[in-house]
């Protein structure tokens, strides 16, 4: 395959970036998108050009590192996959592909396609945990019976890998799907109910402080989420937040 790549290049966080065009030949349809980027970077290095910086780690869709906005969509045109799981067979020979970083004020660009997503870490630190004694006498989690339907919903929410595709794709750069998944995975379980009030208030407050936008229920996040996190979680978080606000 022969491709024309239009890629956002930005030297550092303070530099002014722009879209740069590169031609790439010899791309196999069986390559993953990141492998295609590797080939491009080898070509660039041979030409003495600074390679394109991009986030990646596990390359199997579970770490949430890769974060490219491809042809106007987070993680590209495929559904329920991360960028590393996207294959070049989804594109045609001769295609022009636009590659940009995940854009949001709370996700500032560090370099090229790498963005700072520590806003998510700070939200998680604000309440995305349960306080348990880990000194060796911890109670077995399975000792508490949990209804299957609740366990399944909590597990579904827990599959969120925090990649930020929801923020990137939302027209408002809202982080509600991410935060709601983290709130829901605990809110549905007895272990999480103890700190539920503080959790939802603190996490939502932190989300607001980071400067993410409001949810306008377009549903774009649910469509683009590589893990298929449901909008039902946002409704649950809204309800949890309202009840918690009433309690305080």
């Amino acid at each position: 395959m022969k491709l024309t790549l239009k890629i956002w290049r930005q030297e550092n966080a303070t530099a002014k970036g722009s879209m740069q065009t590169y031609s790439l030949k010899g791309v196999s349809p069986d390559m993953s998108f990141l492998e295609m980027m590797d080939v491009l970077n080898e070509q660039l290095m041979e030409q003495g050009i600074d390679p394109v910086a991009f986030d990646h780690d596990c390359r199997e869709g579970i770490c949430g590192s890769c974060s490219m906005f491809i042809n106007g969509e987070a993680h590209g045109p495929d559904r329920l996959v991360t960028t590393c799981q996207l294959h070049m067979r989804k594109f045609k020979d001769g295609d022009t592909i636009h590659i940009e970083p995940f854009r949001a004020k709370p996700f500032p660009v560090i370099k090229d396609l790498v963005v700072d997503r520590t806003a998510f870490d700070r939200i998680q630190h604000a309440g995305g945990f349960i306080s348990v004694n880990t000194s060796g006498n911890t109670q077995d989690a399975n000792a508490i019976p949990i209804e299957k339907a609740d366990a399944d919903k909590a597990f579904d929410a827990a599959t969120c890998i925090g990649c930020g595709a929801c923020v990137a794709t939302c027209k408002n750069a809202s982080a509600m799907l991410f935060v709601s998944a983290k709130v829901s995975q605990y809110a549905l379980l007895p272990q999480g109910k103890v700190e539920a009030t503080d959790r939802v208030l603190n996490m939502v407050n932190q989300m607001d402080e980071e400067g993410f936008g409001n949810c306008t229920n377009t549903g774009a996040c649910e469509v683009e989420c590589p893990k298929g996190i449901s909008l039902e979680n946002i409704a649950r978080m809204n309800k949890e937040f309202l009840l918690a606000s009433y309690k305080v």
Partner: protein
């Protein structure tokens, strides 16, 4: 209000509740207006009651006006924050691949409805206030039907109203079910809510358009 509605979620809930209130009002407004198609007398009776009842005039009307103003101001406030949250815009953004045009452009449909409301207030509310509270003319229980019919003699006005009702339908088609999601209602009844939403979003604006066209053609 600033302290209470400092959270993005509470602001959205406030938008949802004011929206639901306005949708309830719209239903009541339609229920009265549609009687004008069937009976001049019934329409005049309802209108006379609404126009002279102290509870409606001095309690419900101010609440309604507050609800309308609040919904619009909060809509713009939320939109400004949302635009700021993006920062640098994408070179390519395929919004249509994952969300409907209507859900992404509530500010456009809402802005059009706001422009319509200015016209609608100029047409009906301002003359009504002038009649009752400025000129203090004697109350005539039979004047309402004639005033309504007279307004829709003008084709330009009918066309503007019908276009506005189209935007109202678009706004409601997302707003109705979205309001329930915002207040935390997303469960096994959501499909029912979405069905009611479709019926309401099409039915009410279509009904209002019908009333305007009916009076234009029959008078």
């Amino acid at each position: 209000m600033g302290v209470v509605l400092s959270s993005t979620i509470l602001r959205k809930v406030a938008m949802a509740l004011s929206g639901l209130f306005l949708m309830f009002f719209l239903l009541q407004h339609f229920a009265i207006n549609i009687t004008s198609v069937f009976s001049e007398t019934v329409f005049n009776q309802f209108s006379h009651f609404m126009g002279t009842n102290a509870l409606v005039q001095f309690v419900l009307q101010p609440i309604l006006i507050f609800g309308v103003i609040f919904h619009f101001i909060m809509g713009f406030v939320l939109d400004i924050r949302n635009r700021r949250a993006r920062g640098t815009r994408y070179a390519v953004y395929k919004g249509s691949s994952n969300a409907s045009w209507v859900s992404r452009n509530m500010i456009i449909s809402g802005g059009t409805i706001l422009a319509f409301l200015v016209l609608h207030f100029y047409d009906f509310w301002v003359p009504e206030m002038k009649y009752k509270y400025i000129e203090v003319l004697p109350e005539n229980p039979d004047r309402y039907y004639e005033e309504l019919v007279h307004k829709f003699e003008n084709l330009t006005r009918v066309v503007l109203y019908v276009i506005s009702f189209l935007f109202l339908a678009l706004h409601l088609s997302h707003g109705f079910s979205s309001a329930f999601q915002s207040i935390g209602f997303n469960n096994k009844y959501t499909t029912v809510i979405k069905s009611i939403s479709k019926v309401y979003a099409i039915g009410i604006p279509l009904g209002f358009a019908f009333i305007a066209i009916f009076h234009h053609l029959t008078h």
